[in-house]
Symmetry: C4
Subunit: 354 residues, 4 copies
Amino acid sequence: MVRNLVYAVSRLPAGGHHAVCRSRQGGMTLADKFTLSEIYQKGEPGLRAAGYARTLPPDAASGTPLAANRAYLDSLFFTPRFLSAVKADCSSAILGTPVKVPVFCGPMGGWSNLGDTALVETCRGLKAAGAMMTLGIGGSDDVQKAVDTGVPVAKIVKPYRNTDLIFQKLEDAERRGCVAVGMDIDHFLGRLVGDTVDLDDTFAPQSEETMRQAIAHTKLPFIIKGVLGVDDARKAVDLGASAVVVSNHGKASLESATPAVVALPEVVGAVGHQVEVYVDTGFRTGSDIVKAFAMGAKAVGFANSILIAWGAGREEGVRQFVELLGAEMRRTMSALGCADCASLVDVKLQRIVT
Amino acid sequence: MVRNLVYAVSRLPAGGHHAVCRSRQGGMTLADKFTLSEIYQKGEPGLRAAGYARTLPPDAASGTPLAANRAYLDSLFFTPRFLSAVKADCSSAILGTPVKVPVFCGPMGGWSNLGDTALVETCRGLKAAGAMMTLGIGGSDDVQKAVDTGVPVAKIVKPYRNTDLIFQKLEDAERRGCVAVGMDIDHFLGRLVGDTVDLDDTFAPQSEETMRQAIAHTKLPFIIKGVLGVDDARKAVDLGASAVVVSNHGKASLESATPAVVALPEVVGAVGHQVEVYVDTGFRTGSDIVKAFAMGAKAVGFANSILIAWGAGREEGVRQFVELLGAEMRRTMSALGCADCASLVDVKLQRIVT
Amino acid sequence: MVRNLVYAVSRLPAGGHHAVCRSRQGGMTLADKFTLSEIYQKGEPGLRAAGYARTLPPDAASGTPLAANRAYLDSLFFTPRFLSAVKADCSSAILGTPVKVPVFCGPMGGWSNLGDTALVETCRGLKAAGAMMTLGIGGSDDVQKAVDTGVPVAKIVKPYRNTDLIFQKLEDAERRGCVAVGMDIDHFLGRLVGDTVDLDDTFAPQSEETMRQAIAHTKLPFIIKGVLGVDDARKAVDLGASAVVVSNHGKASLESATPAVVALPEVVGAVGHQVEVYVDTGFRTGSDIVKAFAMGAKAVGFANSILIAWGAGREEGVRQFVELLGAEMRRTMSALGCADCASLVDVKLQRIVT
Amino acid sequence: MVRNLVYAVSRLPAGGHHAVCRSRQGGMTLADKFTLSEIYQKGEPGLRAAGYARTLPPDAASGTPLAANRAYLDSLFFTPRFLSAVKADCSSAILGTPVKVPVFCGPMGGWSNLGDTALVETCRGLKAAGAMMTLGIGGSDDVQKAVDTGVPVAKIVKPYRNTDLIFQKLEDAERRGCVAVGMDIDHFLGRLVGDTVDLDDTFAPQSEETMRQAIAHTKLPFIIKGVLGVDDARKAVDLGASAVVVSNHGKASLESATPAVVALPEVVGAVGHQVEVYVDTGFRTGSDIVKAFAMGAKAVGFANSILIAWGAGREEGVRQFVELLGAEMRRTMSALGCADCASLVDVKLQRIVT
């Protein structure tokens, strides 16, 4: 099954693969199959060609926790149990919504900068692969377009200084058929772009009362994103959240904040028995997802990686990317003797610093 | 509030920002706003153009503790509490003198090498931003010029072999209106420039008797700078000092001496209840200051960074630099749920080595 | 004895050594003697010239445990006891078969891609040096050719989805005179080539019943290769294996699996009193072998290194390579005061992370 | 006093310094004064110009403990006590022979390859600076030349397979006026040059009986060099040695042997109360010597560094090098509040891994 997804590069005539892609104006047909590393290598040029201008992490800004996060993840190892290999199924559910791969596309704005169809193509790719979409900043149009593709959509509302906007957007998301809503609390104080703080006049810290009202205001499950410690995790549960996302928000949250991978087991230990805990920040492979689940996560977010996958092959690139994540998850789970995602929490990770 | 200080580079026409600066002969108007990383990138050329010839750390000299100091600082992380975000105020006091940002410019000599106005421009920038100036080697003229700008000035006297000079300079500083005096004991044995010892014929270790007399000789609070361990910290308190600065003196103190960041919590633990403890060496950002306060510091010194800020924009560069430090401090404090500097001491730092 | 194996480079006319080799069309006479580092430097070009196209590890694929494995091995140090130096003998036995050097060539396929004689030349080199050959994927012809050289051969059968093939190949190996058989369980789920999974339609996880039958089916001792933890080790013993190989299968097993060097002492602790434990993955020198024995290994596998040695000098390159490993082993053992391989298990390794 | 030894580079006309040296055919007058880092930078070309062909460590051979040794040394920090600064005297004694700086030139052979006068120039430089000379492989002529300069000389005899040679050389050394003799036991098994073993037909492990006889054969104190652990240290004491040198013999001893800096405190703990313990391997500065003394060493050997110093300035280069080591020692000792070498053992080192 795994093999169907990949064309070993060595089986293609040298150079020909690239040439074919280019002759189709950067497009891609179903006949083109990639590996994860090929998607990572080829996607960014495609993304740039489509007009994407922001820096992709990791960047060189001093003090951001991204490098530590990735290095920490790379220092974690698991122990195969080949003689107990089982057929593995990586399907799961995110807040009750079934997913074939326990992955969501992180909430990003500015889809229209990538052309009229980028958002819809991404949603279709996610739907085909069985993952979830989340939306961040952006209007009702984006929500409608995304929902219309049939992919399950969660809308992560920004912490607007104008709290009316929050309630309007929550209502809008519910009305248009989102499966969940939420808020990224790590933008209470604006967004870091490099070391510039941006949008801090538009966003603002929300009072406990507002948060409680917002969560009560919707029938949908509410996700609090940007939790990096036990205090925020416990408060999120107390406020009525159904799930938390442990996240450094790419590099847009706070310099020198605990790396998400380090925070994850602490948050799971504190509230994992009460709410679903997800994680994002720097995850790139199916093995990475398995590590997150071993630390108690119930889903993993990919943001820049999915943009890159879209850059590599539009809808098809996104679909293949998520399916490759799933395939690698299943192979790893099989090797660990874990038949399903629930059993991954028993996998012991060993940290090796060299 | 933060946003007023910065122009996101991406909003400027490509290349235009630099061009404008250059067309003003390296000058700068109030309309030019920078981020911290822009100041760090642009300041050094400006400083060099003004004739600054010394090496800026870090340098390659073997065994200096600067690299370890910076790496240690970068390995410290804190845990945001966004759901407990508060409006933060980073104003404080240094030995009773109010500061808007708990920052002082480290004592440096040779201001006249940078032209007639560099010292005054720096002092004005510090005053505008609400920080403190300290002066090191240099004469009465420099003290007078600095005090005349209205910035609070502390004079850190050198440990002259000719002890009369020490007493004269203390008297002079007091007479001209400094708010504090002090001595950098890490120059008892001369100054390291690379691995050359310099000025060891001019400076000398001071006896306990001389130190005690010097401290008693002035009505001003006395700061002992260059403390790196518990012994010196306790002795400083016993001699009558009101504050100590934990410091590697840039790279000019002693090879393989404890990095200041490592020494800081030990010194605070020993004497933090008796005197104010400050720190310098390798600090660059507002997040760094927050870490220092979490370890018990009451102010942080910046020396080369302020020279660089001056290089980037003269008085305005210095003002913006300190205000950016303050803005980053406040944003970080808000995210940590700390309304004021005093509460930062309860922030727990987590060391992550990868 | 050591010295007979090596020509110090400095004793050769500058450049002449290389020139001579090249004038013989990449061939080599018995007069050419190399050091280990020369073999490593010169072998790869020779191997490439013979048509070898696959990547030699370490590669850049994210998450593979090879770099951690090598770094961990390099962080282990032993304490010489020169004043207790003894004459050392590194001969040993692998499953009862005597070896002059406790080394085996790891099971590799595709020998015919290197020409008609590569397999036989390698076997002859191993035989001359007193090591063991193992064969992986490949047919009866290869087994016969290898056995005919007189080198002891172990056949490591692949975990074919078609289990009949397994039994046929075990029988064939026994009939043709192999000294042992085995299976690499880390290919239950196909082979990793970079991040592509290959041959997963041909291989498959084997049931406990099949494994037990296969092991019972042959009179030869059975080696289970690809063990990386206590679970698989214990299960291997329970199934009737006579030996296990702790291995990451180069980089072809599983991303982020425990590095073999880290797993080795755990596996030895669990089953070392019941079966022989071998190790491979990233070993390069005689000192490395000594470390493996200090952790309880009874033999060490070299795969790519032996290909490289063949590239450096065909049969003679392989022979010299293994003899150099033995010579370095003996010198190290002498310095540690260990007369034989059995006593190496008392050597204490000290891990130093810098 | 320190300052007299150094000319800050910045005070010289740009480029002129180099030019002057070169115009004197690589020679040097007393007017040229260097810093340690200048000697390290400039010495190697001079050494090469004089015909020195061997690799200077660190080299790239895999597994040698030199890099770990240096990294470990660099991870050690001490805590200044400036307020307890004292005038420091770094003079000491090596086996009863007074030295102004507790440094010896490590035993090296092949002096005649550097010309007729290199050995004598080096000895004179050492004598002028108040350090000790040791000789390794080489004949009576070298011993006589060295002794005739007036420098104290210790002869470290090789562990000749022909034991008569050992006794002859011990007698010769005593007769010609050496102050001590010894043997480098880490050459029992030949010398590593890269990964080539050299001279293993000339040298051989010595029996306990031979060692005991050799030590008893001379009236001079006997130094056992190449100890890296407690076993050899205790045995050396039992055999009658007066001192041991903890050493990796540059890179010529044994791959993956405990780094000397790691072994030093263990050896001191075991036998430091019975014999003098010295150390070499990778030491470069006066601060490094202070660290060695803080770990209990009574002298530090420099080999390649002294060759480089000779390359930088012949006799004068060696003299300046050792005096700079002494000056840096004294400055560091003063800052640590240690008046003499004996008190350095109370200095606490802090290991900081970043």
